[in-house]
């Protein structure tokens, strides 16, 4: 069975384990996988869990800010735009923390979208538009941001800034 599940039942945890093809075999420090209902506060709880791990690993405040922003934007996109706040739909968050790198995959159960067709929010014609800046911020604050073909999954990576520690 593939995630997202096609029915409304609780997904089989074994069905959405992080696949080795999507997460590298590089040794990792910590990982988590959460499937949450489409509610902002649920997303924020997972967000805090991930950020807490970065802080424990002494990531710089600036990097933690960037990851918080990218997570916030990606989760709002998944919950609000992807799943249209439908409480029967879920969001899957898979995260793996390496020594100097963080990888996060966020998948919703929406119809997806084509990121290439998202207009440039800095276009002078659009600068006063109140929406449409989330993806641009994710791309700027993360080292790498990629969407799957359907557009219902985003994979983001952040490489830790500053010194790398020997221990």
């Amino acid at each position: 069975m593939r995630w997202p599940p096609s029915d409304r039942g609780t997904p089989d945890p074994a069905s959405h384990q992080v696949k080795p093809t999507s997460m590298s075999e590089e040794p990792w420090i910590w990982q988590c996988e959460r499937v949450i209902p489409s509610r902002a506060e649920e997303g924020r709880r997972v967000q805090e869990e991930i950020l807490h791990k970065l802080q424990q690993q002494n990531w710089l405040e600036r990097d933690v800010f960037g990851v918080r922003l990218a997570l916030e934007e990606a989760l709002v996109n998944a919950i609000k735009h992807g799943n249209a706040c439908d409480p029967s739909k879920q969001v899957r968050i898979a995260c793996r923390l390496f020594r100097n790198r963080l990888r996060i995959e966020i998948t919703d159960q929406g119809r997806g979208f084509d990121p290439a067709h998202v207009p440039d929010p800095t276009d002078p014609q659009r600068i006063a538009c109140p929406c449409g800046r989330g993806i641009m911020l994710m791309r700027n604050f993360m080292s790498r941001v990629e969407f799957n073909e359907l557009g219902n999954q985003v994979a983001m990576e952040k490489t830790r800034a500053g010194k790398t520690w020997a221990t």
Partner: protein, 117 residues
């Protein structure tokens, strides 16, 4: 004068200096209320000169930018002026990346913002 749940207002001459009570301004129920309170300042309280002091804000997302843009439009429609100040460097980067540093009049500190009217 209207009571505000998410904002603290200081009067400096004819300028309303606004501080945020929330440390983080993100997409949730509160941001709708926060937006309404900012708009009330202009539409109900008829404030024409506003300074938004971000010294207590350590995080905001694009949802907050949307509210600020709408506020800016309302202030201009009422022939007023809006200044932003005391924005920490990471948040300023958010404004810079989205080129909103060109849309908003952003000043280093409150004294600079007040002097800019």
């Amino acid at each position: 004068m209207t009571a505000y749940r998410h904002l603290a207002i200081n009067e400096v001459d004819d300028v309303a200096v606004v501080h945020f009570r929330n440390r983080r301004i993100v997409e949730d129920l509160n941001i709708q209320e926060l937006g309404q309170e900012l708009f009330q300042l202009v539409e109900t309280d008829q404030r024409k000169k506003l300074v938004l002091n971000f010294s207590s804000v350590d995080f905001l997302s694009s949802a907050a930018l949307g509210k600020l843009i709408t506020l800016d439009k309302k202030v201009k429609a009422h022939s007023g002026a809006l200044k932003l100040c005391c924005i920490r460097s990471e948040i300023f980067e958010v404004f810079k990346i989205t080129k909103l540093d060109r849309l908003f009049d952003i000043r280093k500190d409150e004294a600079d913002a007040l002097a800019a009217f």
